[in-house]
């Protein structure tokens, strides 16, 4: 109570932000009830009739269900296996570079793609992979191969998605590990050198363990988001010919909800997705706390 009287102006300061959060974040959560209703604009969220789990059943039984799950999980797992270790490896290597200049050059260059927009990134991917004009196919032809129509062959989609992602964000992702690596006490390394430990052993036994907490936290966040493949990049890379391997839950929600105006049905699909994510996050976090004593909360 005393705090309220003394700091009333601080409450006043934060009040608009809280009102904003309630309106733009919690009201949509309340609006999620349309997933269990048959929403019509005339009756509104509150007045529309309840239909229970009808929309969920329709989704689970739909032709697209397994395809969406397969693609969503497939892309995430692929990304986790290839994309997650890349920045870690890069940071461990950059940390071993003794020439300050080389180090600076590597960092400056590898951070740069992070600032390209998704539209530009995908635009570049399309230009480079174009069957007739792209530099990659020119190279393949130069080496005696046949030009590959990368963007229209479904089997290439996930690989292109994941590796263009590594190209764009591995450098940026390494910053957080480099920050953790600079915090290591140099005395540890000196002592290990006196004991005759090789460089590889020191990386393995000193550097790696000391950034483990960071690794675990990021891994938890990644695992908790395994059903949350982002919409933006996939949507831009998608076309009718690669759809069987590029259709994910997020693009499906956009298509049936925003373009098809099936609000209740797509809200149900979206809710299913965020619930799975949330449960996964809580579970992975609990496991990590047990095993590693590192957790988000």
């Amino acid at each position: 109570m005393r705090s309220l009287r003394k700091n009333w102006d601080l409450y006043l300061l934060i009040a608009p932000v809280m009102m904003y959060i309630l309106l733009f974040h919690y009201v949509p959560m309340y609006g999620l009830q349309i997933a269990f209703k048959n929403f019509t604009a005339v009756k509104g969220i509150w007045g529309s009739p309840w239909v229970g789990l009808d929309h969920f059943e329709r989704f689970f039984n739909s032709f697209y269900f397994w395809r969406l799950i397969k693609n969503t999980l497939g892309i995430s797992l692929y990304e986790l296996v290839v994309g997650f270790p890349a920045p870690l490896l890069l940071a461990l290597m950059i940390n071993e570079v003794s020439s300050r200049r080389f180090r600076k050059v590597v960092q400056t260059v590898t951070y740069a793609p992070h600032f390209l927009s998704t539209v530009v990134l995908v635009g570049m991917v399309l230009m480079f992979l174009s069957p007739q004009k792209g530099v990659i196919n020119h190279l393949i032809q130069l080496l005696g191969g046949h030009s590959i129509p990368f963007m229209t062959e479904p089997e290439w989609f996930k690989t292109i998605y994941v590796f263009s992602g590594v190209w764009q964000s591995a450098g940026w992702g390494s910053i957080i590990y480099l920050a953790a690596l600079t915090g290591i006490d140099p005395g540890l390394h000196e002592a290990a050198i006196i004991d005759g430990a090789s460089r590889l052993r020191r990386i393995w036994h000193i550097n790696l363990p000391s950034i483990m907490p960071t690794v675990v936290i990021l891994l938890i966040l990644n695992l908790g988001n395994i059903m949350g493949v982002g919409f933006e990049k996939i949507y831009l890379m998608q076309n009718n010919l690669n759809k069987e391997s590029s259709d994910v839950i997020a693009t499906y929600v956009y298509q049936s909800g925003i373009l098809g105006a099936q609000y209740s049905f797509s809200a149900a699909v979206g809710l299913f997705n965020s619930l799975v994510n949330f449960v996964l996050l809580v579970m992975v976090n609990a496991v990590a706390r047990k095993v590693n004593e590192t957790s988000l909360w």
Binding site: S3, K6, N7, D9, L10, Y11, L13, I14, P16, V17, I21, F24, H25, P28, M29, Y30, G31, L32, I34, L90, E96, V106, Q107, T110, F115, L116, S117, T118, V119, V120, V122, G123, M124, L126, M127, P131, Q132, K133, V135, Q141, L142, P149, M151, W167, I175, I176, A179, S198, R199, T214, N239, V253, Y254, G257, Y263, A267, G270, N273, F278, L281
Partner: protein
Amino acid sequence: MANQTFGDRFLGVAIYAFLSVVLLVVIYPLIYVISASISDPVPVINGSMWLFPAGFNLTGYAKIFQNQEVLIGYRNTIVYTVLGTAINLVMTVMAAYPLSRKDFSGRGVITGILVFTMFFSGGLIPTYLLIKNLHMINTVWALILPGAVSVYNIIIMRTFFQTGIPGELQEAAAIDGCGNLQTLWRIVLPLSMPILAVMVLFYSVGHWNSYFNALIYLSERGKFPLQLFLREILIKGEMDEMLQGGGTMIGQDQQLLEAETVKYAMVVVANLPIFLLYPFLQKYFVKGVMIGAIKG
């Protein structure tokens, strides 16, 4: 490090070699785009240009600046970025400062309410309906308000206020009769310039590069940001061409050639502000990630 073993030295060389390859792989596409944008288009398309521009040709850039829509998009993006970043910044400070004060009771609960939104959200459809009900479709607000503040950035800023600014300084100001808001304005903010710079950069690059909100909330072309026009030029055209299977013989049609150069020039023009600011961006962004890492 005078007497390294053979293994250690080998590892050192291997790391340099590997990083050099990484360096080339990352920088090559960037150089290629710039070269292709100023090169004669024929060698670009038929594959005889590999790194440096063949010939010199600014048609691509000339075409862009004749394109009314691109200029409109550029102008819109500048407006959205400036306005959006200003709102972001004010809201972030308004939330972060009270939360940084130990004598602000209820901050645990408030932080909880904020952080929960990072892990669970209503999702696309309810948010879309909300924006529609608020009659914000086809207005600037649909682009700016759904992401008016980032909880992650609030936490970074709160951490900076807590660790970067001595609490004694604020207490001293209070004893001298400074109110809370005066302390924030006169003492805390002037000492927070580095983190404010980080925030401006985080938010403005985000606005500059975003297309999603514009895609779902805008249908009037006159309000489109640059990224939506970019999408039409870079992606739609290219996709159509690929889906047709490329029956057209490239290298013949003057218009096709121009369209190609325009794409490369477009990429350069769209990223020009960010490229120019890159040296500053890099320094401050890195700082921001570091502060975020302390209390992630």
